[in-house]
Each structure stands twice: as structure tokens, then as C-alpha cells.
Symmetry: C2
Subunit: 336 residues, 2 copies
């Protein structure tokens, strides 16, 4: 088996206490001679301190847990990228949990993370239910929400203001001369990414003296490519005189783009489309998709920073609203 601190001590003819002291640069009490002796022993034995034992004694595992409903989504991966980066910088590992949007799996994981004594939890992209919240508070460690939020529960979150961002997208379309604008939306009952975006869209319309007709918002259950496709078909069969559409996600927008292509409607000449997220696919789309950016990696970073702050100070820290902005590409046409 792996050598332990005892083996090193024996090998160097010193006590384990001395070895520990030297390896942790703790106290100033040891001679250069013994230090060399010990370091050499460490080298020869290929000794690596056991983080598990260390974790047991000082109650610190240097690990955080991260829960996402869908690892394979491009949105999640970007968030994860940012998270991991700062976690690593802060000397922490991340245990990564794919909840598959399953309540049971989420609870399961929370319990597991609790047993593993992670020092903090980041919960991403999905609704924080009462049960989850209870499980998290029972863990008695800091937690932060990313790309989601909770009205009822006082956990700090990092996200853009969805309503505001949707407002910006819609206002952009209006500024470009569009008057009849449809929306491809997620689930209106989704109070974090669904309803707020619809509200923002509607408010922008109203603020410009346009009317927000219900018949112009097409809602799906989720925000997927497929949702975008079917919504676009619905839209195209129903709506008339629309010159622009705001899709609540880039995946949806790309779905719309594809379907439009197949239906021979030319983007942006016959119809303008704006997306939401600024995923890599929006850049790769044909035509390149104009969209409102969420700074995903930064959000991941900020969330981790917020968590570490909470771990150090012992107090939750303040939620962060991230800025959003329009990325102009080629899917929106300026109307005369």
C-alpha cells in the first residue's frame, strides 16, 4: 500500500510529529538538517499525504459539490468551466452531479454530498424546491444558486435578470424597425426562465406603444432545439405579418432557423430572429445568430467566488445580477 507518515518518520529516523511539521511548513521549529532528511525520505518513498485523514482531523475536505440537471447541455458546460476554474484556484475539487432533472436523484446526491462532507454546494439551472432547500439547509454549509433563483428561499444566486434581458432583446428588435414581433417561449409556468422572459418581451412591446398580443407568444415545455422547431412551425401556420421573432434560447432559435430554412423562409430577409444565451452554436449558425448574451463562464466563476466567500466568512453573501448584452450578428434585419 501507499506509504504513510509513519513510514516516512521511520525512514528518516524522526517522529511523525516532525514530519508533519515540516510538510506543513508549520512552526519554525526544525533544523535544516532534519528537513532535508525528511524531504529525502518523502522523495524516496513517493509519499503523498492522505487527504482523507487530513480531512478527518480538521474537518475540511477541500471539496465542493455541483449539481446540474443536464451535464451535456452547452449552457451547463460553460457554467461548469467557470466554476471549476475558480474552485481549482482556491484549492478545491469539484464533485460533479448530474441530476437529470430528477427530484429523487437530486435528493440522493445532496445526501451523498453531505456524507462526503463537501464544504459548499452550487446548485444550477433548475428550480429549487422546498425539499431541496430543506436538504441543503440541513447540510449546514454555504450554498449558491447559479442561473436560477428562489423567491421563497434566501440563498444567494448569480444570474442575469431574465425579464430585463428579454426586454433588451425585444427592444432591440423594435429599434430595428420591427412592429409585429412574436415570441418562442419556454414554459410560462416556469417562474425563473419562463414567465420573466415573456414579461420582459411584453413590457418592451407595451413601452413602445405596441400591443402585446397573447396570440403572438408560442410556448413549449422546455428550451430545446426540438421545441424551437415545433414552435416555429406552429408560429408560421398561425401568425401573420410578423417580421421578427424573439426565441427564449439559442437552441430554440437554431431550431427555428432550421425549420425556416426547410420552409424556404429566408432569414433575415423575410423574417428576423434573435436568440438568448450566446452559446457557441449561435456563432456557428447559418446565418450567425444575433442574440442576447449571458456571460456563462463568468457566472460560473462568480458563483464559485460567492461560495468561497461564504465558506470563509460564514455568511451567505449577496446575490449577483450579471450584465447581459446584445451580440449583433446576422439574423436580424434593419427595417426601413
Amino acid at each position: 500500500m501507499k506509504p504513510t507518515i509513519k513510514d516516512v518518520a521511520k525512514h528518516a529516523n524522526v517522529s511523525i510529529a516532525t514530519v508533519s511539521r515540516i510538510l506543513n511548513h508549520t512552526s519554525v521549529g526544525y533544523s535544516t538538517k532534519t528537513e532535508n532528511l525528511v524531504r529525502q525520505a518523502v522523495e524516496e518513498l513517493g509519499y503523498r499525504p492522505n487527504a482523507v485523514a487530513r480531512g478527518l482531523i480538521n474537518n475540511k475536505t477541500q471539496t465542493i459539490g455541483v449539481l446540474f440537471p443536464d451535464v451535456s447541455g452547452m449552457l451547463t458546460s460553460e457554467l461548469l468551466y467557470g466554476l471549476e476554474e475558480v474552485a481549482h484556484r482556491c484549492g478545491h475539487s469539484v464533485i460533479f452531479c448530474n441530476t437529470s432533472s430528477s427530484g429523487e436523484k437530486t435528493l440522493d446526491y445532496l445526501q451523498l454530498l453531505s456524507e462526503k462532507r463537501v464544504e459548499g454546494v452550487i446548485f444550477g439551472s433548475s428550480l429549487l424546491t422546498e425539499t431541496y432547500y430543506n436538504a441543503i439547509t440541513a447540510m449546514n454549509i454555504p450554498a449558491v444558486l447559479v442561473s436560477t433563483k428562489s423567491k421563497k428561499h434566501p440563498l444567494p444566486y448569480v444570474k442575469v435578470d431574465d425579464k430585463d434581458a428579454a426586454y433588451t432583446a425585444t427592444a432591440y428588435l423594435i429599434k430595428k424597425g420591427h412592429r409585429r414581433i412574436a415570441m418562442l417561449s419556454g414554459n410560462p409556468d416556469d417562474s425563473v426562465a419562463g414567465k420573466p422572459r415573456i414579461d420582459g418581451y411584453r413590457e418592451a412591446l407595451l413601452d413602445s406603444g405596441l400591443k402585446g398580443e397573447d396570440s403572438l407568444v408560442f410556448a413549449a415545455d422546455g428550451f430545446s432545439y426540438e421545441d424551437g422547431r415545433s414552435l416555429f412551425t406552429q408560429f408560421y401556420e398561425t401568425a401573420t405579418d410578423v417580421t421578427a421573432v424573439f426565441a427564449a434560447s439559442d437552441e430554440m432559435a437554431v431550431g427555428a432557423l432550421s425549420t425556416a430554412y426547410q420552409m424556404n423562409v429566408r432569414i433575415p430577409d423575410q423574417l428576423s430572429i434573435i436568440g438568448y444565451d450566446n452559446l457557441k452554436i449561435s456563432e456557428m449558425a447559418i446565418p450567425p445568430l444575433t442574440t442576447v448574451e449571458q456571460p456563462l463562464r463568468d457566472m460560473g466563476k462568480k458563483a464559485a467566488e460567492l461560495l468561497f466567500e461564504g465558506m470563509e466568512t460564514g455568511t451567505p453573501g449577496k446575490s449577483i445580477i450579471m450584465p447581459h448584452r446584445i451580440i449583433e450578428r446576422q439574423s436580424v434585419k434593419q427595417l426601413v
Copy 2:
């Protein structure tokens, strides 16, 4: 702080040994009465066993480490999805490490994982250098490679046969009537995903009595969208009479698609394109991209299964070549 087994014992008026026995369903030696007592105490105190302490005593952390050069790539996310799924099923957590293709970071991580006493390691998508290999063997735990392999080092791997898959892609193009076929390739010095794919392409050509001209393979450093774009431009300025191109990755193929679109070359009417990977974007592309599929999620699963097998048996296990197949969509035209 969190309640310990001691608290539970005290609360239930039994010894910690009894609590341990009951919680681990170990031995048959305890009465239903005490069991109830203990369970109730656990409930009341909200006790969760400390996996760290447990890990210390039985030298098992129930976690594995996973290293990837790029979390945010869609390829990686799919692999990760599969990995995580079986890890979870096997009662293990995954510590997720983004190496950013940096040698130093990789070594760093390996060391960290070693200290954290993970029980196995999965190394993905990048070249296994001598140093990495040494670091891994020094950890003295099973390791498996996914979406990469090593000629020099005897670690089991899970991947498709790149040469074979490239052969299939090229042969498909030939079957469709194409005779002059270009290739957009990764780095020819890359012995795992670079050269083999070029070899497969060339061999298919030769086997059909066509000549594999060097001037028809355009190589980049990587496999990115941007690489695809610039390669396509190069290709288009140089090559003549080509009717089809084989791109060594879907991202490259999509880059080619975009560039082609901007140059007004119509796919597949004027030029056919086939990709490699079958990422989600290939389905979302315009036109939908014909490509050769790597069963990414399955590869992730298999890799994890292979690792767990190794952890149980103590022997490495056999490498797995995953099947590949053509996914026919609309980017390749049948020539008369």
C-alpha cells in the same frame, strides 16, 4: 456541528459499536428493539455518517477522478454524461478536472487526486505523455483512457477505431459517386486523432483505385470550428474539381458549412460534406450534416464500467473498440 455516531449512541443509550452495526446491516446481532431505538435517534438528530472517517478506516473513498482537456466542448460533455451515469450507479462520485490541455495542470491534478485517494482515474481525449503515465502508475490505482489511446503504455482504452471510421466516411463518399475528395484534417502529428484519420481517408481512396493526393488534405492544428473555417477557405482557393470533403470533426464540418454559405457555395448541390463525431450540432446544422457517429455517451459508460471492473478485479481489463456508423442526413449528394 454535525452529530456523530457518538451522539447517536448516547441518545439511544447504546454503544457506538451497536450503532455502527445497525447502520451497516452488518452481522445479525441486534434486536429489533435496539434497532428501532437507534433509527429513531438517527432520525431525531439528523445524523449522516461521515464518509471521510469511513474512508479513512476502510481505505475506500467511493470516488473516481476524471480528467479532460476541455470541459466545455460538446464532445467532452457527452462523454462525461455517460461516465457520471455509471459512476453514480456504482455508488461512486466523480471529481471532475479540467486540464485545459495544460501539462502542469494535469500533473497537479493527478497529484491532488492521489492525495484525495480516489479509487480510479479516467483520462480523456488527450495524449498520454510519459510524465502523465508515470504519475498515474505511481498512484497505483486503475486507470482507463477514453477517446484516446497510448501505444507505448499499457492502459486500457475505450474509443472507436479512428482510421477505420475515417475509412468508412471516405468510402461512403465514394459509394455516393464522388471521385475527387478532399480532407479537412487535424494535426497530422497527432497520432491518435490526427494521422489515423488521414490514413483511413487515404486508404479508402487507394482501395477504390483513386489516388490519394497530398494536395487534397488540408491540415490544421486542432479540430475546431475556426479550424474548419480557415481550412475551408484554403481548400476552396487551392483545390479544383473536388466534389466532396471529409472533415475530421463535426465542428470543422460546421465551420466549413458556414464558410461555404458565405462564399455562396451550395451544400450539397455544389459540394458534399461529411463530418465526424455526430455531435448535436451536426443535427442542428443547415443543411443537417451527414456524419460518422462516435457513440460518445456509451463510450463514457463503457469507460466507467471498465474502470470499475478494474477496481474490483485488480487487473486492468481489455480495451474496447466502439462501433461507429454513418448517420445519413443532407449534406452529401448522390452523384449520378
